[in-house]
């Protein structure tokens, strides 16, 4: 039994401190998985970050874990870990692009259609912070969808809401994010 399943069991038993332990464990698993994939695959291979999250779930817990609560915590942690990883990655690349200086990316200067994946990650992350204060529930949906790559059904199970609500949150969030990213902040 892996450490993660132990922690998930503790969570489902109601151990209040267990969720804290999940993030580093999930992160480590993502790391190991990515390293393993690196060794297995050819150099030019591409990968969806979200696929990695799912693979981590399958490898660690598989379909054995019927407990939705554990699953919810796992994906929340994995999405959060992936978010931090991608943001960190994008920041580093942005720094390199701008001559290695400390210059921050000004979102207003960027034409959205021209943004690459890295910029998009950064932009989403920045406006997400705003969304987290104004509409925390929707922010959670975005994290799970965007960084966790979960289906509407999975998000619905994770957050304990209806599938239609998830879809509404996500569709609205995308429109909102798009507006936010395209128009200068007021």
């Amino acid at each position: 039994m892996s450490d993660v399943t132990l922690v998930l069991d503790a969570i489902s038993r109601g151990d209040a401190e267990a969720p804290e332990k999940l993030l580093p464990l999930v992160y480590n698993e993502l790391r190991n998985l990515a390293a393993a994939r690196m060794v297995q695959e050819s150099a030019g291979h591409t990968l969806q970050p979200t696929a990695l999250v799912h693979e981590a779930w399958l490898r660690l817990v598989g379909d054995q874990q019927q407990n939705w609560k554990g699953r919810a915590y796992f994906f929340a942690a994995a999405a959060e870990a992936m978010r931090r990883i991608l943001v960190e990655h994008a920041r580093r690349k942005a720094r390199l692009k701008h001559g290695g200086g400390q210059e921050r990316l000004n979102i207003d200067d960027l034409e959205v259609p021209a943004t690459g994946p890295d910029e998009q990650v950064l932009l989403v992350d920045e406006v997400l912070a705003e969304l987290e204060t104004s509409n925390p529930e929707r922010a959670r949906v975005v994290v799970l969808k965007f960084f966790g790559g979960m289906t509407n059904k999975e998000v619905a199970d994770t957050l304990g809401m209806g599938e239609r609500s998830v879809d509404r949150h996500w569709v609205c969030a995308k429109a909102w994010l798009f507006q936010k990213l395209r128009t200068p902040a007021q």
């Binding site: 390293a35 259609p113 790559g149 798009f178």
Partner: protein
């Protein structure tokens, strides 16, 4: 703009998406906004940007981040330290990437073992190629590590085997750490590969045989691995076939060298990583007197883990009792047989284990029991002279199992156990040494010792005879116990209505002990065959049942005879009638189906 309005706008926006034509949408908005211009403008704005928004998120039913080059993603995960790693740990490992060590340019970290970090590197000269460079952790005596490696370099160079990754070079970094250069193997740990690909037991055994052959080759060249464990056996796919590659040859010796008592414990955590794979003599003799048979032991542990998903002793269990406890466990505690340890697993763990091996739990247990148990146990013998002599011997025994030939491994006999008892209690049994002492010590003393010795020998003789008798007795008991287990399993299967499998098990039963369980199993199977019109098989089950009934003096014998009658008529055998002492007509009047429940 207030929140309520935003919320309303979003609600309308979301509903409006259902209407595909502009006209329908317009009408819907008109109806919903009821002349509220501000609200309508909000909704229109959302609707206007919706297609672009979808495009930005590359919607395909599910939200997706764009594809990223695997290397980039992997690297950024690697380098995002804030979650799990301290800055300190990072500093000690990441400063190598991009630097050159000798002719090797380090490109990427591909793994971390107990004793060091492994990088993928590019050799710049004399040939340009990708290699793996293992940099040993700080705190080693670099000079002696390198010189020990140099001593074995000749032997290592002689090794040439498709299942062995070659060790190419060794040296010291500028900061004084020893490093090793190896053939780059792109693969995963053998245990992970087997579970990940859900290889069944046969496929696992075939891989294992290849590992044995590789180790055999090294042994023939005079090289002992000393650190065989799953992370040192990687499986790569070549032409669509899995090929195990043994890595790290010669490194354990160079790194570990002579372990002293003081270093051995830190060595476990730092170097060897997993004492679960360490042979008893490695633990006890501090790596001084280690020969090829130590590798055989580790191969035994590997086989154990491939079969059961566990090691004979858990690392945690070994480490928690300190060095002395670890030695004692490795030296004295007998590991549980694979088939036994598997039965102790919880239901879900057993189900997972079986699932990974594409078998049903019961079948897996049956498969392990017997030959595979004894093969593993023989490789894991505490005393190395009792193990397989060569890696090939072990591999061939596994091959014999696969070919359904008798294996050479056998359960340890009583005599052997007795010998071990004698050896452990030399003060009582060890007469030889004492006689020598007595001769020196004087006649009286020697006489006394002689009597003592004679008594001991008498005891030993007696014990040997008893042991022989006991062994025969034991063999019989074992057969009975095995049959009993089969019946128990069959009873379970019958209760699950898996009669076909139950029948296969019952078919193997020869010497049966009377029990209600056995009776009901045989009865159910006999009836089942009868219902299907398989009279011969039905008769066989009923014959055994009647035998059990008789032995047990069972009250059910009359019923059973009645049921057996029609069956035997159908097979053309009338033996049962003489048991009734009546004419054949007595049986004929009883329609067979009346006695067979659930008959159509």
């Amino acid at each position: 703009m207030n929140n309520a309005q935003t919320e309303l706008a979003e609600e309308i926006f979301y509903s409006a998406l259902e209407f595909k034509t502009p006209a329908e949408r317009g009408a819907f908005l008109e109806r919903k906004c009821r002349g509220d211009g501000g609200l309508r403008a909000l909704v229109e704005r959302l609707l206007a940007c919706q297609p672009d928004a979808e495009k930005m998120f590359q919607e395909g039913g599910v939200a997706r981040l764009p594809l990223m080059p695997l290397a980039e993603l992997s690297q950024s995960i690697e380098e995002t330290p804030r979650l799990a790693e301290t800055v300190e740990a990072l500093a000690s490992r990441d400063d190598f990437i991009g630097t050159c060590i000798g002719p090797y340019k380090l490109l990427q970290r591909i793994g971390e073992g107990g004793c060091g970090v492994v990088y993928m590197a590019e050799q710049q000269w004399p040939v340009r190629r990708r290699v793996a460079v293992k940099i040993i952790k700080l705190g080693m005596d670099t000079k002696s590590v390198v010189s020990r490696f140099e001593a074995e370099r000749q032997a290592l160079a002689m090794m040439d085997h498709p299942n062995i990754a070659r060790v190419l070079d060794a040296g010291a970094t500028e900061s004084g750490r020893p490093y090793f250069v190896m053939e780059l193997v792109r693969g995963v740990k053998i245990t992970e590969y087997c579970d990940g690909s859900e290889l069944d037991t046969q496929q696992r055994l075939k891989l294992f045989i290849q590992v044995c052959q590789a180790i055999q080759h090294a042994h023939q060249k005079g090289v002992i691995h000393r650190d065989i464990k799953p992370s040192n056996i990687l499986v790569t796919i070549i032409d669509g076939l899995p090929v195990p590659k043994v890595i790290d040859f010669g490194i354990a010796k160079a790194v570990a060298g002579r372990l002293t008592d003081n270093t051995i414990f830190t060595a476990f955590e730092q170097f060897v990583g997993t004492p679960a794979y360490m042979s008893p003599e490695q633990a006890v003799m501090s790596g001084v007197d280690v020969d090829t048979r130590s590798d055989i032991y580790s191969l035994g542990v590997l086989l154990y883990e491939l079969l059961t998903g566990r090691t004979p002793f858990e690392t945690k269990e070994l480490l928690e009792r300190g060095l002395e406890g670890l030695r004692r466990t490795l030296q004295e505690k007998e590991p549980q047989r694979p088939s036994v340890i598997v039965t102790t697993l919880q239901g879900s763990a057993l189900a997972q284990l079986a699932h990974d091996r594409r078998a049903e739990p019961l079948k897996l247990i049956t498969l392990l029991r017997g030959d595979l148990d004894w093969i593993v146990i023989r490789a894991l013998e505490k005393e190395r002279s009792r193990r397989y002599e060569t890696a090939n011997g072990l591999g061939m025994d596994v091959q014999r199992f696969l070919d359904n030939e008798p294996v050479t491994a056998r359960p340890p006999s009583r005599i052997y156990r007795l010998q071990k008892l004698v050896r452990r209690n030399q003060a009582t049994f060890g007469a030889g040494g004492m006689i020598a002492l007595a001769l020196v010590g004087g006649l009286a003393l020697s006489t006394w010792f002689w009597r003592e010795e004679r008594q001991a020998r008498k005891q030993a003789d007696l014990a040997t005879q008893q042991a022989l008798a006991a062994e025969q007795q034991q063999a019989r008991l074992r057969r009975e116990a095995e049959d009993h287990e089969r019946i128990t399993e069959a009873a379970y299967l019958v209760s699950q209505n898996r009669l076909e499998e139950a029948d296969q098990l019952a078919n193997q039963v020869t010497a049966i002990k009377p029990s209600l369980e056995a009776e009901s199993v045989l009865r159910a199977l006999g009836q089942w065959h009868a219902l299907k019109g398989q009279w011969t098989q039905a008769e066989a089950r009923f014959n055994l049942l009647l035998e059990v009934d008789q032995k047990d003096n069972s009250w059910a014998i009359t019923d059973d005879l009645l049921m057996a009658g029609p069956i035997q008529i159908n097979t053309g055998i009338f033996r049962v009638m003489s048991a009734f002492g009546g004419p054949p007509s007595l049986v004929f009047v009883i329609p067979p189906t009346r006695y067979l429940p659930n008959a159509p």
